[in-house]
């Protein structure tokens, strides 16, 4: 009997369940305190009038009703969608083209990849955002170049139509990790596919659309989802480069949440906005997943 009890303690410690929970404990604790409880709180405050340091007052659906009437909120969703619709395809096409360019096996391949990865390494930093602001500013080199082409009085950040262009370019510029992921995908496409196609007389374009794209489709889906989510939530660049302006033209949703919550102190309202945005994003992600069955090609399905 005593023998068995000793064994139980030893067994308990080395039991797969104990081991699993010991090692997974950091995540489980983090998930509860950094995700689950904040989400529950956020959901509760979304139905409250709440400011830091004050009692939360239950107001029912008022926040949501106000959101739908709030032209600034509608605008922030529209400009974010515009940003994502231009920015994400641009970045992915760019990443894919560069990845294909760098498949050529040369001794310098590693160096080239490193150089093309540099923008991703630093692109998210405040330093680059500040540089970008001057680079595209009214006296910066880009506008000066446009001027030398004969267009006068052009100003990115003064224009409601053009202010988002430097932001999109800054995002597309950071194509490095998408590029690396595409590059490793390209490496996995069997060479004989291309050889067979070539024998059958398929040109470069046909080979790209009939072999490269279908074979890469799972990776395109992965990159698309990751970029969509991060694009939707762009913050640092917009906050520093344009401050959401001019006239709300680049006030993306995360800036809207930040401004409402921290500048105006409307915490409850900002939580409600977060939930609406989350639902929109979940819907978009869901739709992409659903339709992905028609355009993503898995080799196992052959």
């Amino acid at each position: 009997m005593t023998e068995k009890k000793k064994m139980t303690f030893h067994d308990f410690i080395h039991n797969d369940n104990t081991v699993g929970y010991v090692f997974a404990a950091p995540f489980i604790i983090g998930f509860c305190f950094l995700t689950l409880i904040p989400m529950a709180l956020s959901l509760y405050y979304a139905f409250c009038n709440y400011k830091i340091g004050q009692e939360a007052k239950w107001v029912g659906l008022e926040n949501f009703i106000n959101l739908f009437k709030d032209a600034d909120f509608g605008n922030s969703i529209m400009v974010t969608v515009q940003y994502v619709l231009w920015g994400v395809p641009l970045k992915l096409i760019f990443a894919l083209l560069i990845a294909m360019l760098l498949t050529k096996p040369t001794k310098l391949q590693g160096l080239y990849r490193a150089i093309y990865y540099i923008p991703s390494l630093i692109g998210g930093s405040v330093a680059v955002a500040l540089v970008w602001k001057q680079l595209f500013g009214s006296r910066g080199p880009i506008v000066t170049m446009i001027k030398s082409l004969g267009v006068n009085g052009f100003n990115f950040f003064g224009s409601k139509t053009w202010a988002f262009v430097p932001l999109i370019l800054c995002n597309a510029w950071q194509f490095g990790s998408s590029m690396l992921i595409f590059a490793s995908g390209l490496k996995q496409i069997p060479k004989d596919y291309y050889e067979a196609a070539e024998i059958d007389g398929a040109g470069a374009f046909k080979r790209f659309f009939k072999i490269t794209l279908p074979c890469l489709s799972p990776i395109i889906l992965f990159n698309l989802l990751m970029q969509l989510i991060s694009g939707f939530m762009t913050f640092t660049q917009a906050q520093i480069i344009t401050q959401g302006g001019p006239n709300h033209a680049t006030e993306y949703v995360s800036l809207f949440i930040f401004t409402e919550g921290f500048t105006y102190g409307h915490m409850g309202y900002a939580c409600a906005a977060s939930w609406v945005i989350l639902l929109i994003m979940a819907t978009i992600t869901g739709v992409i997943f659903k339709t992905s069955k028609t355009w993503v090609f898995y080799e196992a399905d052959e």
Binding site: I115, P119, V126, I219, I240, S274
Partner: protein, 279 residues
């Protein structure tokens, strides 16, 4: 035929290098501007290279604003980034081992939670998380920027899981036969083999933390705690149109990230791709 191929190769390299230079032009412009006089940085007829190289921008910028200089800010950034990176490596390696190799009840459930957390944009939680840290009286400290990293970062957990799944199971089994417990399998077998994955994590998490702007913006309310990235923004606001020192400090702020990248570049290139594709 041979010369034709050679010309093609030269054209290829010329194009890749030329386009690469165009890509890093903003960085080059920043560095060069940091050595220029104020009048030569922006405007219509400014030269690409300074007519006279000036170095004052660096000491002028270093002084910062008020009672703290960039030495303090670099120290703060180093503390936050190093601790956050250590936390990420330890916790993510542990969790990835559990999810990839240990068959425990609820594993699927926690895996799903992990993926959902990975896809959940952090900005959606910025308000409630702030409220919690505020209630714990921990705003105005480094804790909100560091502690969460000790609780596993899903992106890296996922990456390490893919890596562990690629290691032969026979290793575990052989170790088990030799009398290793599951704990020892982690410390003696898996952890040493995780090397490339760990290096990728170190580089990426370090530059994420170093470059982070939103976290310091929300939580580092006292100038004594400002990290470089947040301090530069305030510094630029205060300097107004005096851009030289701002460019100088921006250049300095990127050096640690660059250095790390230069050291570990090769591993990083392999690690990123290994992690994301095999899913």
């Amino acid at each position: 035929m041979k010369t034709k191929r050679r010309i093609k190769t030269i054209c290829y390299h010329a194009f890749v290098i030329g386009f690469g230079l165009l890509m890093i032009y903003p960085v080059i412009w920043m560095i060069i501007s940091s050595f220029k006089m104020k009048s030569e940085i922006l405007g219509n007829d400014v030269p690409f290279l300074p007519t006279k190289w000036v170095f004052e921008n660096y000491p002028n910028g270093w002084k910062g604003v008020g009672e703290y200089n960039f030495g303090d800010y670099f120290k703060n950034s180093a503390i936050v980034s190093v601790l956050a990176t250590i936390g990420t490596v330890i916790s993510s390696a542990m969790v990835s081992y559990a999810l990839a190799r240990v068959k425990f009840i609820g594993r699927k459930f926690w895996f799903t939670c992990m993926i959902m957390t990975m896809l959940l944009p952090g900005q959606v939680l910025m308000i409630p998380q702030y409220i919690i840290w505020n209630n714990l009286d921990l705003t105005g400290t480094f804790v909100p920027l560091i502690l969460p990293k000790f609780l596993g970062v899903p992106f890296f957990i996922y990456m390490m899981m893919q890596f562990i799944k690629g290691l032969p199971k026979e290793l575990d089994e052989a170790a088990q036969i030799d009398g290793c417990s599951k704990y020892q399998i982690f410390t003696r077998i898996i952890l040493p083999l995780l090397g490339p994955s760990i290096i990728t994590t170190i580089v990426i998490q370090f530059y994420w933390t170093w470059d982070d702007y939103m976290g310091p913006l929300l939580y580092l309310t006292k100038p004594a705690l400002y990290t470089v990235s947040y301090a530069i923004k305030n510094f630029a606001d205060v300097q107004g149109t005096n851009f030289g020192p701002m460019f100088a400090m921006s250049t300095l702020s990127l050096i640690p990230v660059f250095t790390l990248f230069l050291f570990f570049n090769r591993y990083l290139m392999d690690g990123v791709t290994a992690g994301s594709v095999k899913g």
